[in-house]
Point group: C2
Chain length 342, copies 2
């Protein structure tokens, strides 16, 4: 008989009594992200966004694969030390993750949560470790500006004009290695999102579509866990961008949670919003992945943060269904990360 | 401190000491599947493959949603009784599952494993239950012939000719409700696939691309668990179809496992291969879902099978990357299901 303590909290949250440890990460970004304010924190910056490949799709797949291999290298691990990879990306049928995982050769769970995929992956990865199913797992996501523009909007050659509310898909990837033991920041809680749709139909305003999903998950997180905003040093959303972030903090304020001083957004941090012409900020599942695995992870290790809430947000439509008149459903998955023993 | 027994077996398998119970299922199929040999086992057969909607994508989403709601209804459960939905489908960005889960309103993990998604979903759902994270979860997938043809091959109106080796995407959905307690068939073991690619580039021969992945998972399953073929009453693959099934059983025979008398394939069972003009049989993640949730589940409950191995197989490419010269990566996720207490 197993004697597992009940790890459920409230309606949507989990508390890990043995919190999985994030023992290492790797991050890679493209040229534009390498010119941004977080430049020095990324492990690798591409000189060429095609990464020596013939197509954008191949480049994205290589981006994810090399980032996973870098994470292993940082930890002196081999693929056979890893029980599962949990990974995804934005491309149709998640080919970025599939061609990456094919070459790494580890048992694979494919996930799709659009830009929320990184925290979906960390949520399920942590649950697999704490459940005793794995000693080590890898969680990875990627996105690429050029493959995403081609697939979701227009081919780059078309030179389409971008709306002021649009976000710039990050060319980047992140991989985090979770372990049942070791030292490093730990995942203590998970709050899983449900799909929320406030009827937004403008695919150039993803932030507005995603903000209500982030509010929903944040509210359940506070209710389920008993945490209040000031228990956190940072509440970091995945990529609501400038517009979505304002909606998010305002809606939460209306519900009685003032997180304005604690909140930041990966999509606002990765670019210089004044100089880099990215309109409402960054997006893409490589955004949260590279900012977390590059910048935030190092700040947790350095002791700059004691406890953060990381919540990636995703817009779950595709272009065809929007042309058919549907609105944009969104989701947000959140995890609590503590500094852990040093 | 948790005192979880180590549930890992070998390199890729899990054994559940408290096996999650499949307390109920629902299945829905389209008109062609309703004319097939398993007709009487499906819970619902559509009279109109558009299901009263304007588009194929909307029809598929409704198919998955209604099947999930039917599963709840069979069990007199409400959405709030379910902790998580784990679901996916074949459409770009998995919109079948997203618009379904939006309307059901339960915390959601989006999965993509192409036609392997049903057993990916059952694997992770079982792990969440046995890990103490949930009392009840729903696992669902769908596919639709018309939305799949439009997206992966040609619009129906084009009337393209089909290769003899091609498979027919099943219009169908299945939903299984797993629970920490109750009576019914139980999931005792999970063996997770890694991505295998033997260099097949013919997207009209998915069975050949997927068979080596199925062999790989089957071999690890036998090695990890100590089961031999005769421990099973049925080894049921997801949708290798006619060609893939032959390759699968022959390759396994070369490795010393003779499963020829025990093996069947959902893609061979769902249609009358002589009369229904489906070439190499059925495919799509609704194939395994509807055959398992419709036919197999009832046979487990009736006591016709004591122990089966269910292994859905998926081809993980998209059309663009194949046009770029890549080969087709594939994966197979397997689970052991026992009849359980009656």
């Amino acid at each position: 008989m197993n004697t597992i303590k009940n790890q459920k909290l409230g309606r949507r949250s989990i508390k890990f009594d043995n919190p999985p440890v994030i023992i290492g990460t790797a991050s890679t970004v493209g040229t534009k992200e390498g010119d941004g304010p977080l430049s020095k924190y990324f492990d690798k910056i591409l000189q060429d966004d095609k990464y020596g490949m013939d197509t954008w799709e191949q480049a994205e797949s290589k981006l994810q694969k090399q980032t996973c291999l870098d994470a292993l290298k940082h930890l002196s691990l081999k693929p056979q030390d890893i029980r599962y990879i949990l990974a995804g990306d934005l491309l149709n049928q998640c080919i970025g993750a599939h061609y990456s995982a094919r070459d790494i050769g580890v048992p694979f769970f494919g996930l799709y949560g659009a830009c929320s995929t990184m925290t979906e992956s960390l949520s399920l990865g942590a649950a697999l470790i704490s459940g005793g199913y794995a000693d080590k797992v890898m969680c990875a996501t990627s996105s690429h500006f050029c493959s995403a523009e081609k697939q979701f909007r227009y081919p780059l050659e078309y030179g389409g004009q971008r709306a002021p509310s649009s976000q710039w898909t990050v060319t980047g990837a992140g991989c985090a290695v979770l372990s049942a033991y070791g030292s490093g920041p730990v995942i203590t809680h998970v709050t899983t999102g449900k799909i929320v749709d406030y009827g937004i139909t403008d695919i150039n305003n993803m932030g507005a579509a995603m903000a209500p999903a982030a509010v929903d998950t944040m509210r359940y997180h506070f209710q389920d866990t008993g945490f209040c905003p000031t228990d956190y040093d940072l509440i970091l959303t995945g990529d609501l961008g400038v517009i979505g972030s304002d909606i998010f903090t305002e809606l939460l304020l209306e519900e009685g949670y003032d997180i304005r001083e604690l909140h930041n957004d990966c999509g606002k941090m990765i670019y210089d919003l004044q100089k880099q012409d990215v309109h409402a900020g960054g997006s893409g599942c490589g955004c949260c992945a590279s900012v977390f695995c590059g910048y935030i992870y190092k700040k947790l290790k350095d002791g700059e943060f004691d406890r953060i809430f990381l919540m990636a947000t995703g817009a779950l439509m595709n272009p065809a269904i929007i042309q058919q008149g549907e609105s944009i459903p969104a989701i947000a998955h959140g995890i609590t990360i503590e500094r852990g023993k040093r």
